[in-house]
């Protein structure tokens, strides 16, 4: 029986990673959203070779690309088929291969930090992302941007993309069992705390929090700061600059599993996201999905993602950071924010992610 739905192939290169964070998770969410939507005949491809649908579905259940990669690498010759070049292909990130092969292509831009903040990247990384980027955009029928902020940056840097971009908002999907598992786990007993996203690398701007620790209003509060993410090589030198009695206020979780992250966020009072620049800032959405307001830097994508579920500060200003801190720990303001965050997080959902893709495929 012929499938009458329009076909779309997703380039699943990111899903071949062992550990799924960032773009592999974005890809998984995209596939889930389109599957739930059901209007497209979804196929999968990597380096022009079709990947069996069941292999991708299995990987999504397992949450790792290890077996998927194994399957791809050992596909029998009889199983290997080049994807029909007339099939629309969507790249969930930048194109890893030569663009312009398929009749209809779209790729996804997550952020332009390698272009606008090259000093925060090694040159090889900048070259990887930027050397063929203009060609990639040229070969796209449509370019998806994961936020208005990324879209605006894209159109400023590449004015010829105007009218050929579309937003592709992602969403948060905690596994159903996390809630039950969390309820049945020992309480996190470290007192009042805020979760902080970021390592001590320049772009993540954790140094602002460290500078702010000495601010009288923050020093006087009892709030601790649980920093989720790699400790980073700059941490020790930063810590040396703050008084010893304040150092105990910073707790570093290191790299944690999704479940531990879920637990740490759920038990926190709020999240602090001081990053200078984010393409989207999914941790902010994760916090809001668990009812936590966000103290976010007034930068890039935060206002559109956090909306009224947070309080903003100038990413360079200790004074504004302290003012935002005072506001968010105020019980009445915290309650006001808490009432808004779930609504704000709910506007980022699978149907919203699927819609622009379906629209693009069906427009051809």
């Amino acid at each position: 029986m012929t499938n009458s739905k329009p076909a779309l192939a997703i380039e699943i290169g990111p899903m071949l990673e062992d550990i799924w964070t960032g773009i592999p998770v974005f890809t998984r969410r995209l596939v889930s959203a389109l599957t739930q939507d059901g209007r497209l005949d979804l196929r999968f491809v990597h380096n022009y070779v079709e990947i069996p649908v069941d292999a991708v579905r299995s990987a999504m259940v397992l949450g790792t690309g290890s077996f998927l990669r194994e399957r791809y690498e050992h596909l029998a010759m009889s199983e290997r088929r080049i994807l029909d070049l007339n099939t629309p292909v969507l790249y969930p990130s930048s194109k890893s291969n030569l663009g312009g092969i398929y009749a209809r292509e779209a790729s996804t831009v997550h952020d332009l930090s390698t272009l606008v903040m090259p000093e925060n990247h090694v040159e090889a990384n900048v070259a990887y992302h930027m050397d063929h980027f203009e060609d990639e955009l040229e070969s796209n029928e449509l370019t998806f941007a994961i936020s208005q902020s990324t879209d605006a940056a894209l159109q400023t840097a590449f004015p010829n993309t105007a009218g050929r971009t579309q937003l592709l908002y992602q969403y948060v999907d905690w596994p159903d069992e996390f809630e039950v598992l969390d309820r049945n786990s020992p309480r996190i007993d470290i007192g009042r705390y805020a979760v902080v996203i970021g390592t001590v690398e320049p772009r993540k701007n954790l140094s602002l929090l460290i500078d702010a620790l000495s601010h009288p209003d923050i020093a006087a509060s009892e709030i601790k700061f649980v920093i989720i993410g790699k400790r980073g090589w700059l941490v020790d030198s930063f810590l040396q600059n703050i008084p010893a009695h304040l150092r105990g206020r910073l707790l570093f979780s290191g790299f944690v599993s999704d479940f531990i992250k879920y637990r740490l966020i759920k038990a926190a009072e709020f999240m602090i996201f001081p990053s200078m620049y984010e393409g989207f800032g999914i941790p902010a959405l994760e916090a809001m999905s668990l009812g936590k307001p966000v103290m976010a830097a007034m930068t890039s994508s935060f206002p559109e993602v956090v909306g009224e579920g947070g309080i903003y500060f100038d990413p360079f200003s200790v004074t504004e950071f302290a003012e935002a801190f005072a506001e968010i720990i105020n019980p009445s303001r915290a309650a006001e924010l808490a009432a808004k965050v779930l609504k704000q997080s709910s506007i980022f959902n699978p149907p919203r992610m699927a819609a622009p893709v379906v629209e693009w495929v069906c427009s051809g």
Binding site: L115, S149, S300
Partner: protein, 359 residues
């Protein structure tokens, strides 16, 4: 430059990594007190010197790129009331634009140790972004957009004061083409002389070098020829000011090595002995050193020399000025007009092209 309400300035991100501004937007003068590089200090100082043409104080936006659009851009705009114009002082690695403002770029590092290849890479990656700029300040690069060389107009801002340059000794040139390292050792071992000794010559040719000029194959022929000529005419002196480092490189040997390598790679044989009348200075000669000279001094420059580092009055010290020009990289008419303002006097433009070349 037309008067406008407020000028906004931004600087390269790498210059902000060692300092911590107190907010995203602050009076631009504040940055002069922080730990920025000497080259940026000169460039920012020049921009601020000329900013009196704007009605409101010039502000510096630490990271314009974090306010790309929507609410963040509105937030920025609310904090820079009256802003109409933005100049991105750039090291060539990125050019930041602020949507809604007239954006300009000031490539400040060239001639002071930054490789022009960085700019070429940026142009290759984002040619259209550069096409959105209104002008380039104090440069006349021919940038390639959509397959054509289309130059951004140039805005010329003349220098306003001489930079503080220390007195520097002059080292005699020695080149063993087969051994650059030994040549460097020999140069440093021979006693250096004071610049006042240059008065014993009938005239002086003073060549201020840049890394990109040394890297230009066509200039190497010029270099080899002039060195050889001076070996056989000890009545006149030849002084090379080696490129200053960009602050990242320790010591002075990279510039010396680059110079000796360029001299080695010429086709001219160079006598393996210490020249009595060919000297090397690790950076430009100080004003004081030039002022004591009472013999004619001919200045040779490169088209990427930061001509704006000195005021036009500085260039009056010289008997003549020759600017070595790379036609493929710069727009000749545009460069001529800019240099006339920055130098404030007549000069000779000397294109680096082979005989018979159409360019």
């Amino acid at each position: 430059m037309r008067a406008a309400r407020r000028l906004i300035v931004s600087v390269p991100g790498r210059e902000l990594q060692k300092i911590r501004p107190s907010s995203s937007i602050f009076p631009a003068e504040q940055l002069l007190d922080d730990g920025i590089s000497p080259a940026l200090r000169d460039a920012l100082g020049l921009v601020l010197h000329h900013s009196s043409e704007w009605e409101q104080p010039t502000l510096l936006v630490a990271r314009p790129e974090i306010f790309p659009g929507g609410e963040t851009l509105s937030w920025l705009q609310n904090r820079i009331p009256g802003a109409t114009t933005h100049v991105a002082i750039s090291d060539g690695s990125a050019v930041k634009l602020i949507p809604g403002l007239k954006n300009h770029v000031f490539f400040y590092s060239f001639g002071n140790g930054i490789d022009e290849n960085v700019l070429k890479t940026l142009v290759r990656r984002t040619s259209r972004q550069l096409g959105a700029l209104r002008s380039q300040w104090n440069s006349a690069y021919a940038l390639r957009f959509e397959g054509k060389n289309v130059s951004l107009p140039t805005t010329a801002l003349a220098g306003y004061h001489n930079p503080l340059i220390p007195d520097r000794p002059l080292f005699k040139l020695y080149l063993d083409k087969g051994n650059i390292a030994a040549s460097m050792e020999t140069i440093s071992a021979i006693p250096a002389i004071d610049s006042a000794r240059l008065n014993s010559y009938s005239q002086i040719t003073y060549v201020t070098l840049t890394h990109s000029l040394l890297g230009a194959e066509k200039f190497r022929s010029v270099l080899g020829k002039v060195v050889l000529e001076h070996f056989f005419d000890d009545s006149s002196a030849l002084v090379f000011a080696l490129p200053e480092t960009d602050g990242k490189t320790q010591g002075v040997s990279p510039s010396l090595e680059a110079f000796l390598t360029a001299a080695r790679d010429t086709t001219f044989p160079i006598p393996k002995l210490a020249a009595s009348n060919i000297f090397l200075s690790f950076g430009e000669l100080s004003d004081a050193a030039l002022d004591v000279l009472d013999v004619p001094v001919m200045l040779w420059l490169s088209d990427d020399t930061a001509l704006w580092r000195h005021p036009p009055s500085y260039y009056q010290k010289f008997e003549s000025i020759r600017v070595y020009f790379r036609p493929g990289l710069m727009r000749e008419k545009q460069f001529n007009e800019m240099a006339a303002i920055l130098l404030g006097r007549k000069f000779e433009l000397s294109p680096l092209r082979f005989p018979g070349s159409s360019r």
